[in-house]
């Protein structure tokens, strides 16, 4: 059964190829069937191999063909299945399928229908390649493929050049990360002689002592790549702009799958990070910092999708926090749950936006509780799971596990735990801010469009998963521990697991209460706070994502553009023009010497004779 493994990435690629080449000729139904169908088949196969995968003890590798074979560098196109990658396939294909179903209807009127599905299939295919890659080079291929598809999909509505610019920004920022990763690959190959992940890890642990400079450098470079792709602290400016793409793409790419690629990479190369504790701590710090920063920015965003974008950044911050403290399994669990409820939130937001005729600003929406009951209930469930409503939602369990690990693990500490709790508070605050503003209060814009069944089914399934996801925690952890080292709890101290759960529940409640207070009861308090001088400046500062964009624009984009502008005509050219001018002027001076008068010629001959006599006499 496992032999079918290579079909999983192959079929979406095939679908993409068909749609790209002959998509225009197909009718809309055919395009939907091919597009959604290919991802469905992939999901089906991954479900089919569930029994075999659970049964297998050692990880299963399927080698397809040797990619290159040059003097000891032998990367192969090979797929590697172990519990971690298996979980990733399941999530990617399943959530992908649901989102494809959703977009089949929501993108119906769009004229680039087949092009959209081609890109989506290409994306799912490259994501699967990334997840199943056996060696880092193939992973890098998937990595760049995913980046390319996010560029294509963000810039899907190319008519409006703003989308194109956002897409280009996203691609360039992610490529900055990728270059760091590329250099990491060189370093790894140069020192360890292979890129095949498993024996890379083995050789690293054998050759490099803990804390060796090489390990630190390699881990840091891979972290750079992960940060770029998962939009963490230094390189997170592209994700909010990426909302320019269609909503299903935001759901699939910028919520569920692509942005978590960084998490997968770090989890996959955990040996490196365990060898370089400083870098591992850096991962935790990056996670925590992004967590807070994104939380605060989310508070001020008027656009519903940008709020969700910032919330994605902060949730991935949580995952990085978990990775940083060594709770690999917790991070993956949170990844799975996050995929469900964030995709749900985006799809629900999509319904709202479609309903209100492409209206993004939440302050102009309102009172949709009765108009769009489906959207309201699903958004509510997703919001609770995101904020971590205790005991009911899956989000609570996974986040709580991360918080507890952050406190309990040897690398973790009180500081990280406190930041985590503050994060929970912030998340609750901005989630319910959106819910109250959009669904309660007075109705501003009329509802024009009701979602039909192809939208409702995926949204409902996702809602159910966000709730039931928590129950599967225990078996999943056991399943993952076979692939990833379990976390050794060390610091029991006064805080037990139960206590941390209670505290996070309290944080959730306060967040909910204050959101209720500000946005339902006394709207003027929120406005007063925003109006105060400090509040206004802070509000603007957070709105602009802590002014990262402003800084990057000044520091990097402007100088390059300036350098290109001044040198348009290639300064080196002037050097050669100068030589040409020199020859030309020599020509004119000499040709003036040809006066044509006989006596001048005779004089020159006489002078020549005298000069040569002098030369012979003196030399």
């Amino acid at each position: 059964m496992l032999q079918l493994l290579w079909l999983i990435p192959a079929i979406p690629f095939l679908g993409a190829l068909i749609l790209a080449l002959v998509g225009r000729a197909f009718s809309r139904r055919m395009v939907a069937v091919v597009g959604v169908g290919s991802v469905a088949i992939a999901a089906g196969i991954s479900l089919a191999i569930v029994p075999a995968a659970l049964a297998l003890q050692a990880p299963y590798t399927q080698v397809l063909w040797t990619w290159m074979n040059v003097a000891g560098f032998r990367p192969e196109i090979a797929l590697y299945l172990d519990p971690m990658s298996f979980l990733m396939i399941l999530v990617v294909t399943f959530v992908g399928f649901l989102i494809h179903l959703y977009s089949a209807e929501s993108m119906e009127q769009d004229e680039g229908y087949s092009r959209f599905f081609a890109y989506m299939n290409l994306f799912v295919g490259s994501m699967l390649v990334l997840v199943l890659a056996d060696n880092l080079l193939l992973l890098y291929l998937g990595w760049e493929g995913v980046g390319l598809c996010s560029y294509l999909l963000i810039g899907f509505w190319y008519k409006d050049s703003a989308n194109g610019l956002a897409a280009r920004k996203a691609f360039i920022v992610t490529r900055v990360g990728d270059t760091a990763m590329l250099i990491g690959l060189f370093l790894l190959f140069h020192n360890l002689g292979t890129l095949q992940i498993q024996d890379l890890m083995h050789r690293a642990s054998v050759q490099w002592p803990a804390g060796s400079p090489y390990a630190i450098a390699a881990a840091a470079l891979l972290l750079g790549g992960a940060v770029g792709k998962s939009a963490q602290l230094p390189l997170q400016t592209w994700l909010p702009d990426a909302m320019a793409g269609p909503t299903p793409t935001s759901a699939l790419i910028h919520a569920a799958t692509m942005v978590t690629a960084g998490v997968y990479l770090i989890a996959r190369t955990h040996v490196l990070y365990s060898l370089a504790p400083q870098v591992q701590f850096a991962v935790a710090v990056v996670g925590a910092a992004t967590l807070l920063l994104a939380g605060f920015s989310a508070l001020t965003q008027p656009d519903i999708k940008r709020v969700l974008a910032y919330s994605t950044i902060s949730q991935i911050g949580y995952m990085f926090l978990a990775l940083g403290v060594g709770a690999w399994a917790a991070a993956l669990l949170h990844f799975m749950v996050h995929a469900f409820f964030k995709a749900l939130l985006f799809l629900a937001a999509g319904i709202v936006i479609d309903a209100l005729h492409d209206e993004h600003n939440i302050f102009r929406m309102g009172g949709l509780r009765k108009e769009l009951p489906i959207a309201f209930w699903t958004f509510l469930i997703g919001g609770c799971s995101l904020a971590g409503l205790p005991l009911v939602t899956a989000g609570f369990f996974s986040k709580d596990l991360i918080l507890w690990n952050a406190w309990a693990s040897p690398h973790g500490g009180l500081g990280l735990w406190v930041v985590g709790i503050a994060g929970v508070l912030l998340t609750a605050l901005y989630t319910f801010r959106v819910i109250f503003v959009v669904f309660f209060g007075t109705r501003n814009t009329p509802v024009t469009h009701r979602p039909r069944y192809r939208v409702i089914v995926p949204v409902a399934v996702l809602a159910a998963l966000s709730l039931v996801g928590g129950l599967v925690k225990a078996p999943l952890l056991a399943f993952l521990n076979s692939a990833l080292p379990a976390l050794v709890e060390v610091r029991a101290g006064f805080l037990t697991e139960l206590l941390s759960a209670i505290v996070s529940g309290l944080a959730f409640a306060t967040g909910l209460g204050s959101a209720y207070l500000f946005f339902i009861r006394k709207r003027q308090y929120a406005d007063a706070l925003a109006a105060s001088s400090a509040g206004r400046r802070l509000h603007a500062f957070w709105l602009a994502d802590w002014a990262f964009d402003w800084f990057y624009d000044r520091a990097f984009v402007r100088p390059v553009v300036w350098m290109a502008a001044i040198n348009r005509r290639d300064a080196i050219d002037s050097v050669f023009n100068a030589i040409a001018w020199l020859n030309r002027s020599a020509h004119f001076t000499l040709s003036r010497s040809q006066t044509g008068s006989l006596r001048w010629y005779a004089a020159v001959i006489g002078a020549g004779a005298v000069i040569f006599a002098g030369v012979i006499l003196l030399a």
Partner: protein, 92 residues
């Protein structure tokens, strides 16, 4: 030594004078100076070669001057003047 002085005089004549006929004359002077040098050299070594060469030079000088004068005639008919500087149209 004398020949050298004579030669230089001829050269200066060629450079300064404008009249074509005078240039021809100065060339004659230079050639004869060379001939004189030959005769002196021949005398020094006691060989007759010097004189023989002088005769050759005389013959050659005669030939040149005759062609030169023919050209001067043509020049006069076309340029209506004997000034050598008129004949400097080609330049560059």
């Amino acid at each position: 030594m004398l020949a050298a002085i004579l030669f230089v005089l001829g050269l200066i004549g060629l450079l300064t004078r404008r009249n074509v006929i005078f240039t021809l004359m100065s060339i004659e002077v230079m050639l004869n100076a060379a001939g004189l040098a030959f005769v002196a050299a021949g005398a020094r070594w006691g060989q007759a070669d010097g004189q023989v060469m002088f005769l050759f030079i005389l013959a050659m000088a005669a030939a040149e001057v005759s062609v030169g004068l023919a050209l001067v005639l043509r020049l006069h008919r076309l340029y209506k003047s004997v000034n050598i500087d008129d004949a400097s149209t080609l330049k560059g």
